[in-house]
């Protein structure tokens, strides 16, 4: 049977980062991917926060297949007919070290896997890991794949197999996931001429826009996003799986609802559908595995539930890479020391705790729950109504004062000023 020091399952950002790190540390590494190429099965909204790569791949921005650099971020609160936006622009984000990168996963994931290959990792695509191999003591000793002669022995298996992680479940690290722990992301990629995108979103050169929208899907606590690539815009929704099932609304209908919103439709008019896709997102506040390591196995990225879901903001790729790096280091160190037992691999968790990965997840742990609450969901509408009252000039009536408007609008939504203050404080606290 073939043997590698480290077998990484899944060539998403977590897997490629783990393979690259372990290979750089001198381990022999096999990187298995079930898609015909890395990224073929993967979906994101569009934005990758790449600073986590700075040490691993120096000057990564010169080689990575990046479409645009985010220089405009906005948060829109919407009702059926109104929209209130906070729009932030920063031209400096179009220069190194950059802040957010917009890329296609088919290209980005293939690129990162290629970096791992060049560092010595062996990438094998079109191969699904179907089971774990175990030693007599129950520790993980390798994986079985769906190919003839497909068993591979490993010092450490790193499961980077995404949100559904069948391997983490098989290892007994993940309880059978529940609908409450996941959201569905569904998106469309729409083609528009590049200069048309520049004009509509107010961009030049490689500048890109990332917009998040709250409240424009009436009956489901979905958030929506719009991200610009060079000549496509991706638009999609993130909706808690349990809420989607309860609502009996189809995912593509939610996207249609977003696209039809009067504040969003003008951006997309006349665009042509290039691809429709859907994927699960673990809710990082709930789905983080209590145990991230077992004897002979580590779990990273989406497979471990390491995704930051703070309201409309979603960061998964950077968390996947961050955890992959930590796992690659821990695995290589354990192999070098000749001990891959659970205790020897426990260093993985402490690495994550001292990094942004578990730090941020811990800090924002209350946000997703709070954002889904009935109380919080009325705020987009409340904010829009307050804006309407403040911005409507109905002379000869005199202008109302801001506190009056707030009090009246709050009352109309069945809340008191005291509730507003309390929720505001709670929201502030949950964001740390």
């Amino acid at each position: 049977m073939t043997r590698f020091d480290v077998v990484v399952v899944g060539a998403g950002p977590a897997g490629s980062a783990a393979a690259l790190t372990a290979a750089q540390a001198g381990a022999s590494v096999l990187l298995l991917e079930r898609g015909p190429f890395p990224g073929a099965k993967n979906v994101h909204g569009g934005v990758i926060y790449g600073r986590v790569l700075d040490d691993l791949v120096p000057r990564w921005w010169e080689q990575a297949p990046i479409q645009r650099w985010v220089t405009r971020r906005s948060l829109m609160m919407a009702t059926g007919a109104q929209a209130l936006s906070v729009d932030y622009r920063n031209g400096a984000w179009a220069e190194p070290p950059y802040n957010g990168a917009i890329a296609y996963r088919s290209e980005f994931d293939s690129w990162l896997a290629g970096v791992a290959e060049r560092a010595g990792a062996r990438l094998v695509c079109s191969t699904t890991a179907t089971a774990l191999l175990r030693g007599p003591d129950g520790s993980v000793r390798g994986v079985r794949t769906d190919r003839e002669g497909g068993e591979v022995e490993a010092g450490v298996v790193i499961a980077c197999d995404g949100a559904n992680s069948l391997l983490a479940r098989e290892a007994g690290l993940r309880p059978s996931g529940s609908a409450e722990d996941f959201a569905l992301g569904a998106k469309e990629v729409l083609a528009l001429p590049r200069d048309e995108i520049d004009r509509r979103f107010g961009l030049t050169g490689r500048e890109g826009a990332a917009m998040e929208v709250l409240g424009c899907t009436a009956d489901v606590p979905a958030s929506a996003f719009l991200h610009t690539a060079l000549d496509t815009v991706s638009v999609g929704v993130l909706v808690p799986a349990a809420d989607l099932a309860r609502s009996r609304i189809r995912p593509e209908e939610l996207i249609a609802e977003v696209k039809a919103h009067p504040a969003i439709a003008p951006y997309l008019r006349g665009a042509e559908l290039k691809e429709y896709a859907a994927h699960l997102v673990p809710d990082g506040s709930r789905a983080v595995l209590p145990r991230l390591a077992g004897p002979g196995i580590l779990v990273c990225g989406d497979a471990a539930g390491l995704v930051l879901t703070a309201g409309p903001w979603l960061e998964g790729v950077n968390f996947a890479i961050g955890s992959g790096i930590a796992a690659g280091e821990a695995a290589a160190a354990a192999v070098r020391a000749g001990d891959t037992g659970a205790a020897a691999l426990a260093g993985y968790r402490s690495r994550l705790e001292s990094s942004f990965v578990l730090g941020d997840l811990h800090r924002f742990r209350d946000v997703p729950h709070l954002m889904r609450s009935e109380r919080m969901r009325r705020y987009p509408r409340l904010a829009c109504d307050a804006a309407e009252r403040l911005l409507t000039v109905d002379n000869p009536r005199p202008k109302p004062g801001v506190t009056t408007v707030l009090r009246e609008v709050a009352a109309a939504h069945g809340a008191r000023m005291r509730d507003l203050a309390r929720d505001g404080w709670q929201l502030l606290r949950s964001f740390g």
């Binding site: 094998v124 003839e148 002669g149 497909g150």
Partner: protein, 299 residues
């Protein structure tokens, strides 16, 4: 027995403008769209099975750019013993070479004097990128070999080969019109082309994938095109479906009426009709109808 499989690198997901039929270059994620057609995969599998049944080796051959080496490496992982990429001597994009040129290039490799001589060459019957299926025919001509084209089944069993000293025939099935099948006995040397679905390409075992294929793809340069042939017609523009006039709604009607006319049947179109008649009369009636509706022109 030496068998060769001819594989062509094609774009598996061409982005075709739905209105003009023109293949677009701009909206292309070109990474990972190149590969071999299902028919070529079936050809490789057929070649492997025959070589196994008769004891022999398969050489995978591709006339194409350096990018074609990826598909040749894959052929090595599923069991091809050799892989040869043939470079055309002429400048110009590989896809634009004529069937005769490609066949001559293949023949220079798999012919008796080539680096990978073969008694049997298996090709896909037509590649995905609107290939005409003419390469195997030209190749048979070049090699002076028997040709059996458009096959749906090839029996790898050596039933004709049992007699010692004889170069065994192969049995193959070809699809004919109206659901008929034709069983062929194919003498060697031969060129075959198979339809997609004739055989599903096997998956490479993991150890084969882990073995390095570095340096195992050979390259050959095809000889300059023969003189004497005046030339072959070349495709002047990309393939596009031909326009055909269809009866439309009355242009003088208002927009609503026209929309109704095209979306509801049968208003605005000739009503559906069932004709019960003797075959000759029915045929005459059909012809008359096709002329009337503009689908047939003349006489």
């Amino acid at each position: 027995m030496r068998v060769a499989a001819a594989l062509k690198l094609v774009d598996l997901r061409p982005d075709v403008d739905p209105l003009t039929g023109v293949v677009r270059e701009s909206h292309r994620r070109d990474a990972h769209t190149l590969g071999v057609s299902p028919a070529d995969q079936a050809a490789l599998e057929t070649a492997l099975r025959i070589a196994e049944a008769r004891g022999g080796e398969v050489a995978a051959v591709s006339v194409g750019p350096p990018a074609a080496e990826a598909v040749l490496r894959e052929a090595l992982t599923v069991g091809a013993a050799r892989a040869v990429r043939v470079e055309l001597p002429t400048a110009g994009p590989h896809g634009s070479a004529s069937s005769a040129t490609v066949a001559a290039a293949l023949a220079s490799v798999v012919g008796p004097d080539g680096p990978a001589p073969a008694e049997l060459v298996v090709c896909g019957d037509a590649s995905l990128d609107r290939g005409s299926g003419a390469v195997p025919a030209f190749l048979a001509e070049e090699l002076g070999a028997a040709q059996a084209l458009g096959l749906v089944a090839v029996s790898a069993a050596a039933d004709g080969a049992a007699r010692p000293g004889e170069r065994g025939e192969l049995h193959a099935v070809r699809r004919l019109d109206r659901g008929h099948r034709e069983v062929l006995r194919v003498p060697l040397p031969a060129v075959m082309s198979v339809e997609a679905g004739t055989a599903e390409l096997r998956r490479a075992p993991l150890p084969a994938l882990l073995e390095s294929t570095d340096g195992r793809v050979e390259t050959a340069l095809a000889p300059a095109p023969r003189t004497g042939v005046s030339g072959f017609p070349q495709r002047a523009e990309p393939f596009r479906p031909g326009p055909r006039p269809l009866p439309g709604p009355d242009p003088s009607g208002d927009a609503l009426r026209r929309a109704i006319a095209v979306t509801t049947s049968p208003a605005g179109r000739p009503p559906r009709r069932t004709v019960a008649a003797a075959p000759e009369e029915a045929a005459a009636e059909l012809l008359r109808y096709l002329r009337e509706t503009g689908h047939l022109r003349g006489g």
